[in-house]
Symmetry: C3
Subunit: 339 residues, 3 copies
């Protein structure tokens, strides 16, 4: 029973990375990861379980634990530790930092939530971004136990010598959705997209739209072709677009435009942060999308009226429904007052 519940919480954590809140979506995504690479699938499973379990032991808020807020960060940390490792698959020694790193996410998550709650902001994937950067810095560039490839500063790369291949860029757009989980294979990426669509077609549409916007931004800045083709240019745009388009804001044409703006800002900020962190051999992870989404949630003015309080966020379709019901309720009430 308890094991089953832990599994459901872990799967919710997997789904939460794409802002979905559904164990079935999580199971499909996990299947896609195992399909792409069984080793990465194992790491992800372990990370989600380790951080969820740590949160239970530390006595964290049970609604947050069962909603997968802790599992989500732990999973991302372990997936990225696997991707940056240059020791190859089935390098069992990596399981130690994977478990410890995932557990540490709970501390960062818990502490940050106290600070961010003042502005009704979600902790989002800040803990993942902090812990993965600290891990890469801590093991250093040439660790014997945990070797990893340093991120190259863009100036060190040879400039693009060939022309952009349009088909490859088009292929990079769905790959951008897969890259949210550091997965660069087309089949699993499409399965992940399908899993998101199962939870909410609107969310999946924004993911694709955001990834396309990210590729466009990458093209305009003449980034290295590999980034475009592998979907690395797209995934920050996808995350930035998803969080605004329908999830944290009621969907309408104004917030739709805001979601596209958010995707552009995320994508350009990702290029900027990549250039900055590349100078010290670090990757930009999803800092750009996380910061941009947080900025959008802080917006004042007339757009703030469409924002949904963090505690009431549901699937975009439900948000829309709840909003129209509230509007109807208000009308009824006003009519009653008039009568």
């Amino acid at each position: 029973m308890t094991t089953c519940r832990l599994a459901v919480w872990g799967l919710r954590g997997v789904a939460r990375v794409t802002l979905a809140n559904n164990p079935l979506t999580g199971a499909l995504i996990l299947a896609a990861l195992y399909w792409a690479s069984p080793w990465q699938g194992l790491l992800g499973t372990l990370g989600a379980l380790a951080s969820t379990l740590t949160a239970v032991i530390m006595g964290q808020d049970s609604a947050e634990v069962s909603g997968g807020h802790h599992g989500c960060n732990g999973m991302l940390v372990s997936l990225l530790m696997g991707v940056f490792s240059s020791a190859g698959d089935w390098y069992w020694r990596l399981l130690l930092p994977v478990c410890l790193g995932s557990a540490t996410c709970v501390f960062v998550s818990s502490g940050l939530s106290s600070v961010l709650a003042r502005w009704d902001l979600p902790v989002s994937v800040f803990p993942f971004n902090i812990i993965i950067i600290l891990y890469l810095l801590c093991v250093g560039p040439d660790n014997l136990d945990f070797p990893h490839q340093p991120a190259l500063p863009p100036g060190a790369l040879a400039p693009n010598s060939t022309k952009v291949v349009a088909v490859e860029v088009m292929r990079g757009i769905p790959l951008g959705v897969g890259q949210i989980f550091a997965c660069a294979a087309l089949g699993p990426s499409l399965l992940i997209l399908g899993a998101v669509a199962l939870y909410s077609p609107l969310l999946a549409a924004h993911a694709l739209l955001g990834s396309a916007v990210g590729s466009l931004a990458g093209l305009s800045m003449a980034v290295h072709h590999h980034s475009l083709y592998s979907g690395l240019s797209g995934f920050n745009g996808a995350l930035g677009c998803m969080s605004v388009g329908g999830l944290f804001f009621t969907f309408n044409w104004r917030t739709h435009l805001l979601a596209i703006t958010s995707a552009f800002l995320s994508a350009y900020a990702d290029i900027a942060l990549g250039n900055l962190l590349g100078t010290v051999g670090l990757p930009a992870c999803s800092w750009a999308a996380t910061l941009t989404a947080t900025l959008m949630l802080l917006l004042t003015g007339s757009l703030a009226a469409y924002r949904i309080p963090t505690g009431q966020v549901m699937a975009p379709e439900h948000n829309l429904h709840a909003c129209s019901q509230r509007a109807a309720g208000n009308t009824t009430e006003r009519e009653r007052t008039v009568v």
Copy 2:
């Protein structure tokens, strides 16, 4: 009518950079910029208009828009984009990032204001500093479309081989006021100083005093002579001195000393941040003065009693008058209570 109002808001934004709130001051400063370089004048005008217009479209608080809080950041971003560009004047392609960057300032400004409002802090020019750094990082050191010169780390420069020329340093003090608008010509700088004096002589005096303090700090740290002669050493000191001396604090001898301290801290912090950001080829912009002024506004203890709430800030002379009136009111009230 609307165009006229937009123009006034834009001019207030231009004046706001020097902490003044007066369209006439803004018009004179803009004239000084066109005098120094018509291209820079055009960029500044465009930036101020683009960000003000974006703020109107986004439905930002109308008092903030008409006060020029958005125009000010947009203008600075576009002026600095022009200065750092190595493509020369009348490079029309630059207008695209100028418009987009100025518009983005509104998002950052709006988001930051939610956070800073908790401590009754103004957003100040934080959005400008963030956006210009992200822009320079994003286009990178050798972009073909938007080339720009990287800031050199101080170690890379040859040490000063000649003695300091006192007259040149003296000339650098008024230039420090012009450098707030990235303007390095003496005539326009003096016109800018005059425009500030038109709004408030006390503010202009603090600008000169702060610039002198900045040059002194630069001399003590043996910075490169070019920085002293061009006013680059002085402008952070000027900004730090202006914001404390009379504007955000009621003017008296204690706050005057605080203003001088603020100028020294701004100037030394500017040298420190310049050395740090120079290692990755970035300029320090006005980060030092903005952070120092924010720190001063957060001060607790007996100095906090002189602080003027952000919503009631006027010209230094008006602040002084309002304060003495309040004091008189208090006395009358106390007398009444006694009676």
Copy 3:
């Protein structure tokens, strides 16, 4: 009379660095510093006095001044300025930045306290960490007046060629307590440990435990042997362990485990930050321990129940006593209610 009071405040400031609040502990620590190096002792005395005096002049909260919150930061800044200076002992010109830097700490401290008070967080040694980094950046790597050795990035060091000597590592554990004051001699370090034990044996035990944890973390990451032997690997762990174990949390077996976790996080974060800041020639100071301790104080969930409000923090033994009294009081009250 006033001089005597100032001396007591200064000595409290010296003790406050090790989280103790006792002038006698401060006097013993100061004696240990004079024993290790009279020049460093002089610098520390001067720094503690300069910042306490500045706080008095600026009209800071008198409870904070007399508690030594300002003296503590000023002392650390001046000690570290002395350690990083490469001009040797009795280099009188250094007294100028020592006094100015210590005084500046009061501004940073006062400003930060406004921000951190929202979450009932102590300012801790954030001002010291900020000011020493700004000082090192400002004077730059090859200043003629204030020369100092740059911190080397770990990649630039030759890898460890010999085996670890266990005895030397054991010797590094008490040295880690001394390194809190940048003191690398065994005798004075033991005296400092004794001075802490005089205030609270529990605090001293946690200091040793944390230093041991830090050395363990350093061993696991194969840091340079010099760091292990000199205690530099241990002092962040010691600080992280002390602040959680008994001081800011009521001591029991759960918070004891949290203190060990805090020591590990501090030590690993120190290695990470050392690698990051080393790339620009800066030391990591006690950023890691300060950030980790702040994170621990922000924790939500069932562990937050053991947290002691900042205003009621006393020695660990007193905390424990006060807590058991409160519990007894609650029981009595409940019994009364039942009756």
